[in-house]
């Protein structure tokens, strides 16, 4: 049998085993890759298996952490390319998904810094950690809502706070000694007011 033919059979039979392989076994195949066609094919197939196993979870991780002007799929793609490059030298074999998230977190922070330094607002203090970058991303939405909230009277503010801490209208009614229907109506109107107020602020800053 020709070398190419035997290589093909080896790759095909290995692909059947990859599905049941652990992450560590798959990364080991990637670690020993060399330019020879059979080993490279095996490494690529192992990488595909890792992708199928973890890609949806990486995307879910990224989607809630990217700022609005960054595409989560782009960062996911870059994360996988970095993983391919770094598995042989930087992955120690334990908890692949956690390692992947760490690469993604570093890339997010880099992207965030890049975008901010090229934005018009150059005198801004750049966040140094992913936590602070996350707060930075949420800051605009928080500030608008907080401003609008301060325009509500004290009782309505209290009702909103209690409701958004998981208390029911009935519990709030008993706690504040206000009629059940009144609590319901005030919460509903407060929500309406806040939505209008925040949307108005968005229009003004657009």
């Amino acid at each position: 049998m020709s070398e190419i033919g035997s290589g093909y059979i080896r790759v095909m039979s290995n692909s059947l085993n990859l599905i049941s392989s652990t992450d560590e076994q798959l990364t080991n195949l990637i670690k020993v890759r060399d330019p020879s066609s059979v080993q490279k094919q095996e490494a690529e197939m192992a990488f595909n298996s890792l992708y199928d196993r973890h890609a949806p979870f990486l995307l879910a991780f990224l989607k809630v952490r990217v700022s609005p002007h960054i595409n989560a799929s782009d960062i996911a793609q870059e994360t996988w390319m970095r993983a391919w490059q770094k598995i042989p030298t930087h992955f120690d074999g334990s908890h692949f998904r956690g390692w992947l998230f760490q690469i993604a977190r570093n890339l997010l922070l880099d992207e965030f810094r890049k975008k901010k330094t090229t934005s018009l607002n150059e005198d801004i203090d750049l966040p140094e950690t992913q936590d602070s970058a996350q707060e930075f991303i949420q800051q605009e939405e928080k500030t608008k809502l907080r401003d609008c909230m301060s325009q509500l009277d004290e009782v309505r503010q209290k009702i909103v706070k209690l409701r958004l801490s998981g208390e029911s209208h009935r519990e709030i009614s008993e706690r504040l000694n206000v009629e059940y229907n009144t609590v319901q109506t005030r919460f509903h109107r407060a929500k309406q007011f806040l939505e209008d107020c925040v949307n108005q602020q968005e229009k003004e800053t657009a």
Binding site: A60, F61, V64, R105, T129, Q134, E141, G166
Partner: protein, 291 residues
């Protein structure tokens, strides 16, 4: 803006499903922002462990169905925990959570990214460069090859001669073999990292070349730290450590660039010492806080 956080259901059993949808969905960041705006007066001391306690195992297996109203309230009033909760469920969640996250995903986006990655892997830059170099080599006449060989050998000799002190020598600080793999409790681990960083002060940095070498080596140690798994630490401490290390790495890069551009040795040395002192202190403080 849609104030989705205001649509949370009233009944505890409905709250459980609602929170699952939010934690696994793409609008979590917005929900967290809205809840943070409303509960801005809350402290930041609470942890997921403190809220969920022994129920964590039940959560990762079956979702939030066993949480009490009080536990839901603690999560809603400390919304910064929801992002950490999502990450932990992505990493530790069992079949129940895997399904929930998969239900929220857009398959076409994932397939599209896979195709792009496969295409890139099949045309690796290094391979094409190697092929091109091989092609170029075939075109070069023998005399030129001999001349190139001589020049290369000479360059290699000068490179070795000039670069007697290698820039990225591993072996001290965070690059010391075994420094990051010790099976010890989190506080001891962080203190050990502080001690390793303190090795900075063991060698003199009284010339520009020595300072530059030492800074570069320390920066490489930072990279090792960033890429290490740190199984000794919780996710929160690990995240803290790596985020801090990214920041330190950025500052070290700035110091290296400044030095290369001709910064005054005394000032650069003092700045480097101050940075290392600061990061050692930060690690020791964190060690005191971990349980």
């Amino acid at each position: 803006m849609n104030l989705a956080a205001f649509d949370l259901p009233e009944q505890t059993h409905e709250l459980s499903d609602w929170l699952v949808t939010q934690v696994t969905g793409p609008n979590l960041s917005s929900i967290v922002a809205q809840l943070s705006a409303i509960h801005s007066d809350q402290d930041h001391d609470l942890t997921i462990e403190a809220i969920c306690g022994e129920q964590w195992n039940s959560i990762i297996q079956n979702g939030f169905s066993e949480l009490t109203q009080n536990q839901f309230q603690q999560l809603l009033t400390h919304p910064y925990l929801l992002m950490e909760l999502q990450e932990r469920l992505l990493l530790e969640g069992e079949e129940y959570w895997q399904k929930q996250f998969l239900n929220q995903n857009d398959d076409s986006e994932i397939k599209q990214t896979k195709l792009i990655i496969q295409e890139t892997l099949q045309k690796p830059i290094l391979d094409s460069e190697a092929t091109q170099q091989a092609e170029d080599f075939k075109k070069v006449p023998y005399r030129k090859i001999a001349a190139l060989g001589f020049v290369s050998a000479a360059l290699l000799f000068f490179a070795v001669f000039l670069n007697q002190e290698p820039v990225a020598t591993p072996g001290w600080g965070w690059n010391r073999p075994g420094a990051l793999t010790a099976d010890i409790p989190a506080d001891q681990y962080l203190n050990r990292l502080a001690d390793s960083a303190n090795e900075w002060f063991k060698k003199p940095t009284d010339t520009k070349a020595a300072l530059l070498t030492r800074l570069t080596q320390f920066r490489n140690g930072c990279e090792t730290l960033i890429n290490a798994p740190h199984p000794q630490l919780t996710i929160k401490d690990r995240t803290w450590l790596i985020d801090r290390c990214r920041a330190w790495a950025g500052k070290l890069d700035n110091q290296i660039v400044a030095l290369e551009k001709g910064a005054d040795l005394k000032t650069a040395d003092a700045n480097a010492d101050a940075l290392i002192h600061k990061l050692v202190k930060a690690l020791q403080n964190r060690a005191e806080q971990v349980t």
